[in-house]
């Protein structure tokens, strides 16, 4: 798998937050290559810049300096509108908690991602394929409040990949779950990676969870070590 095309190419990425007069150096030169089909676990202590790195990769915020290419597209040159487009087509996000829109059912939470991306009327096969992998087909008509944390996370993952993004970014997807639910979510990620070849980057604090990935990178003080 590691000889596929480069999906992420990050070179010396830096991010400085200015809080009043204080400069916070969240990223101090991160370089990382990820190839298609990889499942990379990202570990590191709190405050080491993991989430910040993901937000930049996903186009939620621009880097201060350095170069990043996602699927060959240069993030540095991107406008706000370009980054919106990137989030729509190239990346899928899963966060630690409260991922779903509370007023919509699980199925509609997934459907709205397709609506936003404009793929609503497209091929339904990929949609059903994803739903099949979730293992909660009977609960798709429920609203998030009626689902367990693990079920919610699986719906969030389905929503994140329903538009076939180049990369799935999961920021501590099991951080809020018990062992059993964690195992179900991690198994789903592994299935997606193995069966659909989905490229995945996952932040975790748990070494057992990290072991699901094909490769682990560690961050410390805004750098990859």
């Amino acid at each position: 798998m590691s000889n596929g095309e480069l999906v992420i190419q990050a070179r010396d990425v830096r991010k400085v937050f200015r809080v009043g007069d204080v400069e916070v150096h969240a990223l101090r030169g991160v370089s990382l290559d990820v190839r298609r089909g990889e499942f990379v676990s990202v570990i590191g202590p709190s405050g080491s810049g993991k989430s910040t790195f993901f937000h930049i990769l996903g186009g939620l915020t621009p880097p201060t300096s350095g170069s990043i290419h996602i699927h060959g597209k240069d993030l540095r040159a991107m406008s706000e509108a370009d980054r919106t487009e990137l989030r729509k087509k190239e990346v899928g996000f899963v966060f630690q908690k409260y991922n779903l829109l509370p007023t919509l059912t699980a199925a509609d939470n997934i459907a709205i991602a397709r609506h936003i991306a404009g793929t609503e009327d497209g091929d339904d096969r990929q949609f059903r394929e994803v739903l099949g992998l979730l293992g909660i087909s009977g609960r798709l008509g429920h609203k998030p409040a009626a689902l367990s944390g693990g079920e919610q996370q699986r719906v969030a993952i389905a929503r994140a990949i329903v538009n076939r993004p180049s990369i799935l970014l999961a920021d501590e997807p099991t951080g809020n779950l018990d062992t059993e639910n964690s195992a179900a979510v991690l198994a789903l990620l592994r299935d997606l990676n193995a069966r659909l070849g989905q490229t995945i980057l996952m932040i975790t604090h748990n070494p057992e969870a990290a072991a699901y990935g094909s490769r682990t990178v560690e961050m410390r003080d805004g750098r990859i070590v």
Partner: protein
């Protein structure tokens, strides 16, 4: 899909949604009731004027059609008019205000019967005494009167001698001589109605009469009733304008507060949508769609409430107020409600659209 989200959002906070719809509904009813009252009362006046059966109305010099004029025309004019070519009949009336929008009209019953074909009595009959009073059915119902009842008007007691079908001249009529005495206008009239032998000659007759009495106001009844319109009543258009302005402000405030709280409590949802690739325009669209839906639901409710207010008026004060249902104003009132609501949603929508996704997602 986006509509599903919009409806789901509105259903998520049913009380807030219902209150917003109700407030917009009241706003719309306020406008429609006012317009309905204005048009209803004017139409009613026009119908009563037509009910007289005359072709021409004459009023004293310098009077305005829409305001009450004191009795200032000499009664002797009647003889002059009666002698003019084509004039078949003449009837003079005295109009006296009795507070609010109500007036008492003094008539000579014989004269009036000749020109109008007479009242249709539901009960009772013509005047027999100087203190007799004839009222129409609406007035009788509103004031719980029947033949033989006593009414106090202008500090005097009157005996109801007849109750008649509405739609002719006035709701309350008394003998002309009595009213002239009471109003200190002996031998004076407020208006004179003329009936012609050939109604087709109305305009020529008016032209001929105006040459002889240039200062007097003369209108054909057709012209008169067409003048009963909102724009001809001094101040009415401005008043309606003020009420519409207030309605817009009410709609603006209600929707502003409602959407502002909605956007605040959905900070996280907006973050999720943005992480999914929703553009600021998409977020804006959701807020505006919700707003339009609220305003349309409120407009529908407002229209329904208009029937309620008409029922109330018909039940409680049918003789004082007449409210017409004016469907032509439904889209106008609806558009005004949507307009006010959209202005109210502007700031909340803008706030949601430019919200930073990361900040929104770390918000708990």
């Amino acid at each position: 899909m986006i509509n599903k989200l919009v409806v789901a959002n509105l259903k998520h906070r049913p009380v807030r949604t219902l209150l917003s719809v109700l407030a917009i509904g009241v706003e719309v009813t306020m406008m429609l009731t006012l317009v309905g009252l204005s048009e209803g009362m004017l139409e009613d006046s026009a119908r009563r004027a037509r009910g007289v059966g005359a072709d021409i109305i004459v009023r004293a010099p310098g009077t305005s059609l829409m305001s009450l004029s004191s009795a200032s025309m000499p009664q002797k004019l009647m003889d002059f008019f009666a002698g003019q070519p084509h004039v078949a009949l003449a009837a003079g009336t005295v109009v006296h205000p009795i507070g609010g929008v109500n007036t008492v009209t003094g008539i000579d019953l014989d004269e009036f019967n000749r020109i109008s074909g007479g009242f249709k009595y539901i009960s009772g009959g013509p005047f027999r005494r100087p203190d007799d009073i004839i009222v129409d059915d609406f007035y009788a119902v509103q004031n719980k009167l029947s033949v033989g009842s006593t009414v106090n008007l202008m500090n005097r007691n009157w005996r109801v001698c007849g109750i008649v079908e509405p739609g002719k001249l006035a709701r309350i009529v008394i003998p002309r001589a009595t009213l002239q005495d009471l109003a200190g206008a002996t031998g004076k009239l407020s208006q004179i109605f003329l009936k012609l032998d050939t109604p087709a000659h109305t305009n020529q007759v008016i032209a001929a009469l105006k040459e002889k009495l240039p200062d007097y106001q003369m209108y054909s009844i057709e012209e008169l009733t067409s003048l009963y319109s909102v724009s001809n009543v001094p101040g009415l258009s401005a008043f309606i304008g003020v009420i519409i302005g207030l309605s817009i402000v009410v709609g603006f405030l209600v929707v502003f507060l409602s959407m502002y709280t909605a956007v605040l409590e959905r900070t996280r949802e907006v973050g999720i949508l943005k992480a999914l690739g929703a553009s600021p325009g998409y977020v804006l669209g959701i807020v505006f769609r919700e707003t339009v839906l609220l305003a349309l639901a409120g407009s529908l409710l407002g229209i329904v409430l208009t029937y309620g207010s008409r029922w109330l008026i018909m039940t409680l004060v049918p003789a004082s107020l007449t409210q017409k249902i004016v469907p032509a104003w439904w889209p106008i009132a609806g558009a005004i409600a949507v307009f006010g609501a959209l202005i109210g949603a502007m700031y909340p929508a803008w706030k949601a659209a430019r919200q930073d996704a990361i900040e929104a997602l770390s918000y708990e």
